[in-house]
């Protein structure tokens, strides 16, 4: 299988209620644009997934966050540089700044561009496979935003 230049990575856990929304979104996006990128999902986080990034030029992360700043279901774009090591709104990011630093320090084949799309969630703790109503309602927007990001990258390439 030929490796693509873009990775779309869904972070979250499908059996932790809303926490799985990033995974679901990425699975949906893959059916829409299967040729556009490599699609992966994981419930691991932080530096333990560093090697998934290696060799890609761009990575789009799709995740659930619980910042309390937005209504559940709201989709936001986050910049990896926005995260201090403290108060990361999602545990999946708990090692992200460190991971990016390591990737760059070590001169590994680390992506030049990392974008993060996240959706505010209600309940990422309870074990269960159902999304909250609010998150279910926000899911189409999350998928369509992710889709536009991918298509933007494609346009950027052709320029």
């Amino acid at each position: 299988m030929v490796r693509k230049r873009t990775l779309v990575l869904g972070l979250g856990n499908e059996i932790n209620s809303d926490d799985g929304v990033g995974v679901i979104a990425v699975q949906m996006l893959e059916t829409q644009l299967p040729e556009e990128a490599d699609f992966l999902t994981t419930s691991e986080h932080g530096v333990s997934i560093l090697e998934l990034f290696l060799g890609y030029e761009r990575v789009l992360l799709v995740d659930a966050i619980q910042s309390g700043r937005n209504r559940p279901g709201t989709v936001v774009e986050l910049n990896p540089d926005d995260f201090g090591p403290v108060l990361a709104p999602s545990p999946h990011f708990s090692g992200l700044p460190e991971m990016i630093t390591i990737g760059r320090e070590l001169d590994l084949e680390f992506p030049k561009e990392i974008k993060i799309l996240a959706i505010e969630v209600e309940d990422p703790y309870s074990i269960g496979e159902e999304l909250s109503e609010s998150v279910k309602a926000g899911l189409p927007e999350l998928v369509s935003r992710a889709r536009s990001e991918l298509l933007k990258w494609r346009t950027g390439e052709s320029r």
Partner: protein, 489 residues
């Protein structure tokens, strides 16, 4: 008037994984508690599902050790269906499992625990992070670590389908046999793994063992507990991550009991405290007598240190050499120093790598016969592996159609919860005096539990020195008096 200090991670586990420190009127510590999250609702979630789904479902419970849950669940299914997998299937499972232990241990050694013992506990907090580690060991070593882990994880993906949530385990065997190419790849990765593990031992020896100050820390009373230890051993009482019997040794090193996982409930019980929803496992033979050390207390420890303490020897040559030096350095077993867990982890990396090599080169592992089909009616099954952090038990009951009616998991952190609590308490008492609660002291309290690498908390698994913590000081009326946020923001 006593005060309450809370070290609280700000993550999705907020309110779950935290340390409460109760200060007394003299400014010292009255009592410190660690709380870790529980798997709420899992049992209900599992009920009514086909048992065959358990390896997939349980591997999703935890983003930290999916392979451990997958393999423990698969072994529970073997037991449930009373089916013995063919030898090649067991070897494939064990190969995948040792590869997983190696990459997970490497992550902890360099990235999670490394800042504590490679950079040093008293280094300024700006250096106590992964960049500090890289500064100390060099970027070449950093690259080596990342690439070694990558080759291990690629091998797991190749054999087990998916590194993140493996899909190869089935009751009675595995989903596919190894191709010649798979085996060649495994041999190559195993060779690299042995080299990497031995290299890691040298790094550890150069940076830690030769540092008198650090050795003083390791052996200090603050980080020492004389408890029982439990871990899996083979028929010759040698370390094994995948198969064998659980052996418990007393604080003086003598064997207390050895039993198969099916007898787990005869030997281990759970104690509940009003201040925590964590169930504290203890040895039934000894009973619960509180958070106490010693031969009369039921508190025991699992994980790398415990596994070396229950093993008479290592099953592979280089690991055995390292094990001998370990025992000699501390004047024999059992070693009661919690921080020696980091060294034990390196020795286990060597064993895992050497075992990978043995298995990858074993001609039988290429055999196509990798499944015995289950034919018996299921009712109850136990599965056990030594997860990187310690003994992991899966226990299921089903109806005659194999639908789950009961599922119980005992994870490493639960086995360790009594000793971890004691460690946090002892470190806090030993380190905090005169109301002085600063960053360096907090880090040293954290070190007490980071050595165990508690599996549950995303927060407790965060990078040392980077762990998002809030320190809250309350008066005896529980009114907030002061709040300190670690690492700014």
């Amino acid at each position: 008037m006593g005060r309450k200090v809370v070290i609280e991670p700000i993550t999705r586990l907020e309110g779950h994984g935290k340390i409460d420190i109760f200060l007394n009127d003299e400014g010292g510590v009255d009592r410190a508690y660690l709380q870790v999250p529980e798997l709420r609702g899992f049992e209900t979630f599992a009920q009514g599902r086909p048992a065959e789904d358990m390896p997939q479902i349980t591997s999703r419970i935890c983003g930290v050790c999916p392979t451990a849950h997958h393999v423990a669940a698969t072994k529970a299914l073997d037991d449930l269906y009373q089916v013995d997998p063919p030898s090649p299937a067991k070897k494939i499972r064990e190969l995948v499992y040792n590869t997983f232990v190696l990459e997970d241990h490497a992550l902890h050694l360099y990235f999670l625990g490394g800042p504590d013992f490679i950079v040093g506990p008293q280094a300024p907090k700006e250096q106590r992070n992964i960049l500090g580690v890289l500064g100390k060991v060099g970027t070449d070593v950093g690259r080596k670590v990342i690439l070694a882990r990558k080759s291990c994880r690629d091998l797991i993906t190749r054999i087990a389908g998916k590194v993140i949530h493996p899909v190869f385990g089935l009751p009675g065997g595995v989903a596919k046999s190894l191709t010649l190419e798979d085996r060649q790849k495994a041999v190559k990765v195993a060779d690299g793994a042995v080299e990497f593990a031995l290299f890691s031992l040298r790094v550890f020896e150069d940076l830690v063992l030769s540092n008198a100050k650090y050795m003083e820390w390791i052996t200090s009373d603050t980080y020492t507990h004389k408890t029982h230890y439990m871990g899996l051993v083979d028929e010759n009482n040698r370390l094994n991550f995948y198969e064998g019997r659980l052996r418990v040794v007393k604080p003086d090193g003598a064997e207390l009991v050895k039993f198969p996982v099916q007898e787990y409930l005869n030997h281990i019980a759970e104690h509940v405290e009003p201040w925590s929803y964590v169930k504290f496992c203890f040895l039934k033979d000894k009973g619960w007598s509180g958070f106490k050390e010693g031969a009369d207390s039921g508190i025991y420890c699992v994980g790398p240190l415990a596994r070396l303490n229950v093993s008479d020897r290592m099953a592979t040559p280089e690991a055995q050499k390292a094990f001998e030096k370990f025992c000699e350095t501390f004047g024999g077993k059992p070693v009661h120093h919690t921080l020696a867990t980091h060294w034990a982890r390196v020795i286990e990396m060597i064993y895992a790598a050497e075992r990978m090599k043995e298995l990858a080169n074993d001609p039988e592992i290429g055999d196509a016969h990798v499944r015995t089909l289950p034919t018996k009616t299921p009712s109850e099954g136990f599965g056990l592996v030594e997860a990187p952090r310690g003994t992991l038990v899966h226990h299921y009951k089903t109806d005659a159609r194999g639908i789950v009616t009961m599922a119980n998991l005992v994870v490493a952190t639960q086995n360790n919860s009594g000793r971890i609590s004691m460690s946090v308490d002892k470190a806090a008492k030993g380190l905090i005096r005169n109301n002085e609660v600063n960053d360096g002291l907090l880090n040293m309290v954290e070190m007490a539990f980071r050595a165990y690498d508690p599996c549950h908390g995303c927060a407790t698994h965060a990078l040392p020195g980077q762990m998002p913590l809030i320190l809250r000081i309350y008066n005896s009326n529980h009114q907030l008096q002061r709040e300190i946020r670690r690492n700014g923001s």
